[in-house]
Amino acid sequence: MAVQYLGLKEINGPLIALDNVTGIAYDEVAQIKLSDGTERTGRVVQIDGSRAILQVFEGTKGLSLKNTRTRFSGKPMEMPLSEELLGRVMSGAGRPIDGLGDIYAEKYEDINGKPLNPVSRSYPRNYINTGISSIDCLTTLIRGQKLPIFSGSGLSHNKLAVQIVRQAKIADESGQDFAVVFAAMGVKNDVADFFRRSFEESGVLQKVVMFLNLSNDPIIERILTPRCALTAAEYLAFEKNMHILVILTDITSYAEALREFSSSKGEIPGRKGYPGYLYSDLASLYERAGVVEGAEGSVTQIPILTMPNDDITHPIPDLTGYITEGQIVLDRSLDQNGIYPPVSVLPSLSRLMKDGIGEGYTRADHSDCANQLFAAYAKVQDARSLASVIGEDELSPLDKAYLRFGRLFERHFVNQRFDENRSIEETLDLGWLLLSTLPRSALDRVDDKLLDVKYDPEGAESRFAEEL
């Protein structure tokens, strides 16, 4: 369709309005040509009779009511797809920015995707060995899961994500059909660079597709970034049979972009000014993880979000937690005590873990070990709060044992080096050894037969001798 519309009726923030347009569709993409020759892309977000409202991805700076020509493309926002995407760097709107030319597309797909039919999903069961004890044992990551990292500004979530990517790759038996899709939304330039460098150092760069919307890029583009990334991920996973790990960082910037866009559209705000559809919108991203029956590939998501003011009840982490299958929560006080990764064990959870561990997946005693560690560490918190009131000396012997267990658990189990890759056997054995520092009667989540095999106070004493 070659019809071009001259000029605009209204400009408001990232939105423009055109009058007297005919034959356009909801969600359709348009090219907006400025008089200086540059082009911008917009999308129809509302139609009222012959009036259309468009959002402009690159922002409306420099636009006037007269200097534009708008041409509608007749289709929704699409993304070129091909296996060549691997190793490329794209803009937040899915265009190559690494100077290596256009993607020679095998096909184009609507970036919004379509809802996956629940009966076509197969329930994720294969676990991913990340080599990180606190994740493998306590919040096991499953292939096809969406497991976000709830972090705060200044915590080591980026480092953790890199470690997962590096070590998960090694754990994959075939190694071949593993790839990473990395989407940066509103992150700082050096953070994006940290990821790129880390991928390069661990030799996976040729298996990474990067989508970069940096913090100074337009916010409308930020709304497209995860959708482009997930469209690429779905294509590689379900048509090219690869196991894809998608890292989305930072969801908080994304949600803020959505809020900005919503308020400029004049929508009625929900909690804290975020639009009422924030839940549905986030779900349309997170639900694109999974395993499709009959396809060999999978899409696993690790979204990273920084909780504003470390508040887990803030709408962004809150709504995310309701959609994702668990969460890994990072804790500032652990970080300050020099524990890396600072995984706060108790609020962290993996919902899919129960069906992906145990005999045939990890090891038969995994769930007992994990449950007992959780229960014991919950007791540690009680003992700590009591100690802060009455002092450590006044505690009962059992509470003192819990305090000691808590210290050892954090120092030896949660804490590990950035380049340390523990096998699941190592992790579980370490867990049992730590539990053995407690009196046997305190281990009430495990039945006696298993304890006979695993309870080993002498072993614990020799291992943690200097600290007991």
Partner: protein
Amino acid sequence: MNSVFSINGPVVKVKDTSDFSMMEMVYVGNKRLIGEVISVNSDETTIQVYEVTTGLRPGEPVVGTGAPVSATLGPGIISNIFDGIERPLRDIEAVCGAYIAEGVSVNSIDEDKKWQITMIVKEGDFLESGAIYAVCPETPVVEHRCLVPPGISGEVIYAAPDGEYRVNDVVCRLKAEDGTEHELTLFHKWPIKQPRPFTKRLPIDRPLITGQRVIDTILPIAKGGTAAVPGGFGTGKTMTQHQLAKWCDADIIVYIGCGERGNEMTQVLEEFSGLIDPKTNRPLTDRTVLIANTSNMPVAAREASIYTGITIAEYYRDMGYHIAIMADSTSRWAEALREISGRLEEMPAEEGFPAYLPSRLSEFYERAGYVESLNGSEGSVTIIGAVSPQGSDFSEPVTQNTKRFVRCFWALDKSLAYARHYPAINWNDSYSEYTDDLSEYYYKNVDPDFLVCRQRISSMLIEENKLMEIVKLIGADVLPDDQKLTIETARVIRVGFLQQNAYHKDDTYVPLDKQYKMMKTILKLYDECRSAVDSGVPFSLISETGIFEKVIKMKYDIPNDKPAKFIELETEIEQAVRKAVKQSAEEGR
């Protein structure tokens, strides 16, 4: 011809028409997307579309159907999985593959399948509304009873012979008193937003037995009752609902996944087909209907999914079955209301929710009940709705308004969940108003002593709660021995009784009788220890015998079918306490 004027997400407007009526189902656009009329005025008609509107253009046709959005009710519903507007997801998959496309047209129930029909009326019979005219085995455990649609009655002038029929075949003809004839097939349609009529409500006095100790014993729910399960993420709402769907003694389960995770629905599908119902020895899917509107499916259909589910439940209730509905989660439904309301630019009330939120919630929960249906049979619909409060804050509008319309409140607690105490139902914040209504049942069918024991257990937990305030300040060591005993017994109640392991073959479902015996054993332990402590035996000596740990593990040690072992355990309790008394006497000497 009416045509689309404006489009804003799922909200579409048509200008200058008076052809549509409120709640009418319409087809929007060339793809024939399904929509519902939600507001009509002289200028414009507003329609919410149940599918994605991407690619819709102004000027495309809008066609009315003349009928409200309805559910198709007939054989073939049980063990199926539907989307929010009763389209079978397996058929959608067959049409368009793994991803759901817009405008897919599939029949709600299979029109080709033949059912083995037995007619139970003959020519000359007079049938009232709601009467049963034919039956067929729908699944091995559910007999489908075809009902005369409410509003129709008359004399049978034709009854087909028994045999195999499709749902569209006419098996019966009625001649009404005014002379009109009605053809009855195996199904009829019913508007999803209109409650199905019944003769009268019956008193609620039978429990819905779930096999979950904290529910059956402490916070029971009645058949025909309503319960809310609020809890922040990760507190086990879905797990609790799964457990209830698996084990509760309803005849049919309607599980509505409203705005929740796709993988959870897959899990229900896989897990339930593998689990055998102990009562019927058949897979649980034979008594389950799933309605799935996952969080990435269109938001308007989310609202419909709740109504579709309850309409199906009422239909089976009218056949004389007991139905339990799991609605997971009603908060997503409320959010769908908010989203549509926002697009309509309605004046928002609290937190952006529309002002009619409470009335919608009450309309929904009031559709529960224990009733005598039009044909005289008794059936019930029990609603168990999960609530996902924002920021785990129970003061938010959905939780607060739900609380007003349910009589059973199972508050899930984050700190219990963090300690992996499941089900994480907090016994202090939760309540059930059904305890009195059900007392007679427990008195007659379990044990006259049941409620006395229950009361003692509850009191002990409250007592512990008070003592813990002190313990938090000064530690447990300084408490006198009788209070130490209370705290220790309360621990036995918490860990040994309230906490239940869904993955343990015996512990996942515990019959009422065993629940009662477990309570008795705990109280026996307390009484024995108390008399010893009162006579001056130090509590530490009793505790050292390990008897408390022994009692905690009774849930695993005593299989459900070996109640005789409780007697052995009681003997062990007596011996342990006697040992402590003896030791104390020796030390004293």
